[in-house]
Symmetry: C2
Subunit: 319 residues, 2 copies
């Protein structure tokens, strides 16, 4: 079994802690999409919940732990979805939640963070600037900093998706996972390698923000100077060494896709599956589009990880 | 308890027969939508499954019954969603499925019926013409005719949605149900009146296809000469007397909404919930839009019953 920081028993126990509204998300075969590619495509839909992304699975673990410890405040840096999810999980436990985000994050994500009652602090620059600022706030206020992908709860929360996939998978099937900081890939990958080891775990990252995928390929941390991608949810430049170590244990491949293919993937998810998704959620379909022969005749599961997208931008991309 | 043709024990037993891919659909609070209306809005999402509507719940019961009896063929008239669902349920049980539909039904629905391997026969005129033709085919071939809303399996299948709502409802809450032939309204209504009788069951039909709502109001079957609505999924002119009798037992109100409001509801579901829905699925939101004071401060559940919509028409309506 893969040796990572994650623990299968804790992941199973997480099912008892996470609010059921985030669990047992839809998993279904989409024939219309599959017939476009000549393979069987299953959709794991993580957008039909109050925060429209899978991040609530992890923040439920974080916030319930904090509540047990009697903590009253928490801070995170977020591309937008983690902040919403932490806002949601924190609000119902009476936690004071601070979120640091990029000023240029999608307005829909920022608005929702505010509407959940979280304190939102905006910074210039990219996600790494937000991360530094969150570290400072945590230190100054002496409160818990939630670090996506580094904090094992964020990985083990995401890993519960894997538990929900196991029954539908056989050896030779492929699961396509959007790769950002690595929480979803290491989480789902850990569960799959433990329970259905013949399943191929393929991570997908944008060519324009390739740091963790390149790190996986070179088996050492590779950082990048800048990022250029519409997939705001997966854009980071500094992979976390511990996360890379885990990813090396559980991923079979790390694929990079072009921006135009991400857009094409979003369009296909709309036209053939009726789903409005954010760019990160189209990475899996983009991977099939760029290499259809690889997946021909196979069963491929793609995790639709988030649906928080500004509609103006969406129309501009998709039409 | 309401005396209808439906039976709560059979509805509970249906959970063991219906393929799980249609069950336990997402149910979640949508704050972004609720804040637009000053009420709490919960979404029951029936589109995240292989046929993108709730109809699979009923066709699973029909098809499993036919398979048990050793039948090998079945026919139905359909506005499009029932045909898809029967195609799906019939295919996996080796049934020869014939669907009669309007030539002008949404292309997306007709294409999917064909791609599921069903025989598709197209007729001119409206749904009632298709219904007559299906009756003829059933008689000539001596095969089972599935009549939506008349056949109790279609109502009891839809009624399983009600079982999934019960835990989230309290007296004083409202459930908004699209009203077409009446299967969903009588099914869900039967369960709610039995298990949480203080919940208000409100059916919603387009002003342009008001036959069953008018019948409910007048407590007798009212037919109409014609129909003018974009909500193709709920367009019928001849209410079924037995269904009306049931509806009179379980519905607290039958509301009619304008076409422009249905479009506005579709737009709100896209902008505030990220959902692409067919017109019938926006009837509940349309009812809130036309009478927001009625729902202010309350908890309202709207069932998003289908997502099969031609994108060209959708863009035309929503933009």
């Amino acid at each position: 079994m893969a040796q990572t920081r994650l623990d299968l028993d804790r992941i199973r126990a997480a099912l008892e802690v996470i609010d059921p509204v985030f669990l047992a998300s839809p998993l279904y075969r989409c024939d219309a999409l599959g017939s476009q590619f000549g393979c069987a495509v299953s959709i794991k839909l993580e957008t039909a919940n109050p925060v429209r992304s899978f991040k609530g699975r992890g923040t439920e673990l974080v916030a319930s732990g904090l509540a047990e410890q009697g903590a009253d405040a928490v801070v995170c840096a977020s591309a937008g979805n983690l902040g919403q999810a932490l806002g949601w999980s924190g609000r119902r436990r009476g936690l004071d939640v601070t979120v640091v985000a990029r000023r240029l994050a999608p307005a829909i994500k920022l608005d929702r963070i505010r509407s959940l009652g979280a304190h939102l602090e905006l910074v210039g620059g990219d996600f790494e600037v937000a991360r530094e600022r969150a570290v400072t706030i945590a230190r100054q206020r002496g409160i818990r900093l939630v670090e996506d992908s580094l904090d094992v709860e964020t990985c083990e929360g995401a890993a519960t998706i894997g538990l929900e996939l196991v029954g539908a998978l056989s050896a030779g099937d492929t699961v396509l996972i959007a790769l950002g900081g690595g929480a979803m890939a290491t989480g789902v990958g850990h569960v799959l390698k433990a329970l259905v080891p013949g399943v191929e775990v393929v991570c997908v990252q944008p060519l324009g923000a390739p740091a963790l995928a390149l790190s996986w390929r070179e088996r050492r941390v590779v950082t990048t100077e800048s990022m250029h991608t519409i997939a705001d949810g997966v854009a980071g430049r500094y992979p976390i060494p511990a996360v890379l170590d885990d990813l090396l244990q559980v991923a079979d491949d790390a694929v990079l896709v072009r921006e135009a293919t991400i857009v094409a993937g979003m369009r296909m998810l709309l036209e053939h599956a009726g789903l409005v998704v954010e760019p990160s959620a189209a990475l899996g379909i983009a991977a099939i589009l760029e290499d259809p022969d690889r997946f021909a005749g196979r069963h491929v599961v793609t995790i639709i990880c988030g649906g928080n997208v500004d509609l103006d931008a969406y129309y501009r991309w998709v039409r």
